[in-house]
Symmetry: C4
Amino acid sequence: MQSSRLEAFSDGVLAIIITIMVLELHAPDGPTLHDLWKGAGQSLLTYLLSFVYVGIYWNNHHHLFQVVSRVDGLVLWANLHLLFWLSLYPFTTSWMDAQDLARVPTIAYGVNLIGAAIAYSLLVLAIRRLPSGAHIGEVFGSDWKGKTSIALYAVGIALTFVVPWVGVVPYVAVALLWLIPDRRVERWLQRHDQVPTG
Amino acid sequence: MQSSRLEAFSDGVLAIIITIMVLELHAPDGPTLHDLWKGAGQSLLTYLLSFVYVGIYWNNHHHLFQVVSRVDGLVLWANLHLLFWLSLYPFTTSWMDAQDLARVPTIAYGVNLIGAAIAYSLLVLAIRRLPSGAHIGEVFGSDWKGKTSIALYAVGIALTFVVPWVGVVPYVAVALLWLIPDRRVERWLQRHDQVPTG
Amino acid sequence: MQSSRLEAFSDGVLAIIITIMVLELHAPDGPTLHDLWKGAGQSLLTYLLSFVYVGIYWNNHHHLFQVVSRVDGLVLWANLHLLFWLSLYPFTTSWMDAQDLARVPTIAYGVNLIGAAIAYSLLVLAIRRLPSGAHIGEVFGSDWKGKTSIALYAVGIALTFVVPWVGVVPYVAVALLWLIPDRRVERWLQRHDQVPTG
Amino acid sequence: MQSSRLEAFSDGVLAIIITIMVLELHAPDGPTLHDLWKGAGQSLLTYLLSFVYVGIYWNNHHHLFQVVSRVDGLVLWANLHLLFWLSLYPFTTSWMDAQDLARVPTIAYGVNLIGAAIAYSLLVLAIRRLPSGAHIGEVFGSDWKGKTSIALYAVGIALTFVVPWVGVVPYVAVALLWLIPDRRVERWLQRHDQVPTG
C-alpha cells in the first residue's frame, strides 16, 4: 500500500490537534494588559509549548515518510497509536494549565510526552520491518535525539517531585533540541539524488 | 470519476471526528490523581473506544479504496451516508459517558455503531455495482467480520436490558476483532502485483 | 494555476463545517428516550438537514471541478466567498434550532441558503470566463436545478410570514431535489472518454 | 523535499482556523432581528474581517508555492511560525469583539496581524535562499503590498491611542488592498508557460 493517504490523514489529525488547542485560550474577561496576562498569559505559553511539540512531530513524520513510500496494516495501526497520544495533548495541556503547573498534572503531561515518544519509536520499528524501510537505519543513525528526549522527559517527571513547575524545564529543553532542523534526511536524499520509491 | 477527492474529504471528516471527541474531555477540577480518575477516567476509556472505532473505519475505508479508483454519484452519497453515522459518534459517546453507561444511552451508542456498520455495507454494495468494483468480492470474500460485528452489536444492545453496562462488552469485542490487521487487501495487491487502475 | 489545492482546501473547510455542527448537539441531560427527544430530537433533525446541504455542495463542487483543471485569482475568491456562506450554516442552524423555528431565525437560515446558492452561481460564472471552463455550459445545460433552488428558498422565506415553521418545507424540498444523483457530469465525461486537462 | 505535504498541512490548519472562528459566533438569545444585531452583529463583522484575512493568507500561500516545489527544514519551520501567528486570530478576534473594540484588545489584534505579516516575510526569505526559490524576487518584485500592509497595521495601532475603534479602519484597508487579485504570479507562469519544477 502507498503511504500517501496515511500522510494525508495524519496531516489532518495533526492540523486539528494544533488548532483546537486555541479553543482552550479563552478571551480575557477585561480589556487591559493585566487582564490579558492574568487571564491568558500562562495559557499562551503552554499553548506555544504544545504547538511546538505538535510541529516537531509533524516535521519528523514528514521526514520519516519522505524515505518510505509503501506501508502495511501494522504501520497504519502504529501510526494511529501515535496519533492517539498526540490527540491527548490538548487535554493534558489544559489540565496542567488550569492547575497552575501542579505536581500530578505536570506528571500527566510528561507521561503524555513519553507516550507519544515511545509510540513514535514503535512506528519507526514497524517501518523498519518493511522492505522499503530497510534504509531507515542508514538515514536516522542511532537516533540519539529520540533517546535523549525520552530520558529528558523522565528527568522532568522526577523533578516535579522536588518542585512541581521545575519539571517543565526539561520538557522545554526537548522542544529546543528538536527545533534545530534535522539535516539527516535531506543529506541522505541528496546523496541518493531522488525521492526513493520503495 | 476518480476516487481521490472522495478519499481526501473522508480523511478530513474522519480526522475531525476523531479529534473533536477530545473536546469532550474536560480538564479535571482538581490537581490530584483522584480528580483525574473521577473527572475524566471513564471519559478517557470511552474516548479510547470511539477513537479505535473511527480508526478501524479509516483503516477499512483506506483498504477499500485501494482496490477501487473510479466512483459515481451513488458511491459519493453512500460515502456521505457512512460519514453521517460516524459523525454522530462524539454525540452518542458523550451521552453514554455523561449518563454513566445507563441503559438508553448505551443502546443509542449501539444503534449508532450498527448504523455505521450497515452504512459501510451499503457503501461496499454501491461499489460492487461499478465495473471497477467487480473484484471487491474476490478481495473481501464473504465478509464474515462485517457480519459478525453487526451480530455482536445486536447482542450488546440485548444485554443492556439485563445489566446496562454489560452491553459495552460486545462493543469492545468488535473493536478487538478489527484491531488484528486485515491482510486480505495486501495479499490481493501482492498477487496482482500493482494498484489496479479500474 | 491548477485547481488541486483549491479542491483540497475546500474539502478541508467543508469537512470541518459538516463536523463542527455536531458540537452543537449537546448530550441530553437525562438517561431516557424522552430526554433524548426533548433535549436533542429537533437538533438532530436540523443537523441532518444541514449535513445534507453541505453534502450537496461538496458533491456539486466535486463535479464542477471534475471538468475544470486550471483556475485564476478570481475563481479563488469566488470559491472563498462560497465557503464563507457555507461556514455560517452552523451559526444559523443553531439559532433556528434554539429558537424552535421562530420566524426571524428561519428567515435568517433561508437567507443563508440563498446566499450560498448565489455564491455558487457566481463561482460557476467565474469559471465560465476561463478558457478551460468554456464547456461548463455544455455540461450543466440551463442549470434548472440551481434556479429552482433559489426560487424555492424564496418561497420558504415568504411562507414563514404565514406560519414560521412551514418555511422549512421548501428548504427540505430543495435538499431532496439534489439528493437524486446528478448524472450530467458523468455522462459528459463518458462521452469525452477522459478527464479533460483544460 | 517536495512542498506538497507542507501545502496540504497548511491547508488543513488554515481551513480549521477559518472555521473554528464560527464557534465563537454564539446563537443570539432571542428570536428577533434586534437580538441578532445585539447578540451577534459585531461578531459577524469581526468574523468576516478575520475570514478575509485568513483567505488572503491562503491565497498568497497558494500563489507562493506555485513557484516553488522543493523546500528544506528551515522553510518547514518558517511555515509553522506563520501558522502559529495565524492560529492566534480566533483568540485575538474574540477578545477584541468581546471588549467592544477597546484599546488594548484592538492593539493586540494589530500586533497579531503584524506578527503574521512578518512571519510571512520570513517565510519568503527562507524560500529565497533555496536554489528553486531564486526566481521569487523576479515574480513578486519589490513586494510593495507586503510593506504597505505592515505600515498600515502600525498606523492602526497608533490610531487606537486617539480613538480605540478607529484603529480598525487601517486593518480593513489592508484587507481591501489584498482582495484585488494579484496577477503577478499568473503573469509569470504564463510567460514561463508551465509550472516550474524547481
